[in-house]
Symmetry: none
DNA sequence: GCCGCAGACCGGCATTTAGCCGGCCGGGCC
DNA sequence: GGCCCGGCCGGCTAAATGCCGGTCTGCGGC
């Protein structure tokens, strides 16, 4: 359905949807008319839904962090998550493969409250380690 | 800061960011060059952050993953993120404190495409390591 | 008053881009 | 082989853009 050139084209459009066809064609490595045809196909097939503008948003009043949690032997998500759901600042928990068992997303008002939350998570039965990574910024977000 | 004509212009761009200046000028009720100047002002003042494309294939990704990235010495988010924004499956990038420099959130159709994306991220200049954690589930999500 | 200045706007010109279309090429098929 | 079809290229003309000079208006200082 989508080949490499489609992906390059979509990537270029994501970066700047107002780029001219000539510029897009240079990125893709095809002639202008071939690029134009691909774009029309992507629009016709509904892959491309719309071209829109991204505005400066003004809401991130909080400290956010990702806390990488590992479990003690024998413990599972279903043992730990119920305790975490009691902490209001916990926004999400993702069960992961690899060296991290659970990624806990936290949003709170201050570093002091982040400290308390980290303590609370560490104290949950079954939590072996809780490594805190403050989110300094989100230079790319979509969806 | 924003007058009615700015709002009309932004509204028209939201509907179709690839609309020509001539068409936009018709919507706004100004000459083409005045419209062009307003657009440039909105871009310069940071009101308009980017022009981007909205895709259809973003609602039910089969595979989600967090890819923990570290940078080579001397590299920063601003060097790396622009490359990542060209990968359509990249949903978000979070700049972190701690042993992880950047957390890249990915949503794609299959493990095979996840493999390709991981390769693409690894190949970005400045990326030292890219550790993939597949998201097995999200037992808690709110807000 | 009135002068100069700055911002927003208009219109014209040269250049660039887009829309359209005929033609080329390679792969699949009979 | 001969045929068709999809993907691509390049040329032509019309449309859009970049650029810039010029007009108008509001504003502050003299």
């Amino acid at each position: 359905m989508l080949d490499d050139k489609d992906r390059i084209l979509i990537g270029a459009l994501r970066r700047n949807a107002r780029e001219s066809l000539v510029g897009l064609a240079r990125s893709v490595g095809l002639s202008r008319s071939a690029t134009q045809e691909r774009m029309r196909r992507l629009e016709r097939d509904g892959i491309i839904k719309a071209y829109t503008v991204e505005l400066a948003s003004e809401q991130d009043p909080a400290v956010r962090a990702m806390i990488a949690v590992t479990f003690d032997p024998g413990f599972r998500c279903r043992h730990v998550v119920p305790h975490l759901s009691g902490i209001p600042e916990v926004v999400a928990c993702h069960s992961l493969t690899g060296s991290i068992d659970l990624m806990v997303i936290v949003a709170c008002e201050s570093n002091a409250s982040l400290d308390r939350i980290r303590d609370a998570i560490s104290a949950v039965p079954g939590v072996a380690t809780a490594t805190t990574h403050v989110i300094l910024g989100t230079p790319l977000a979509r969806g």
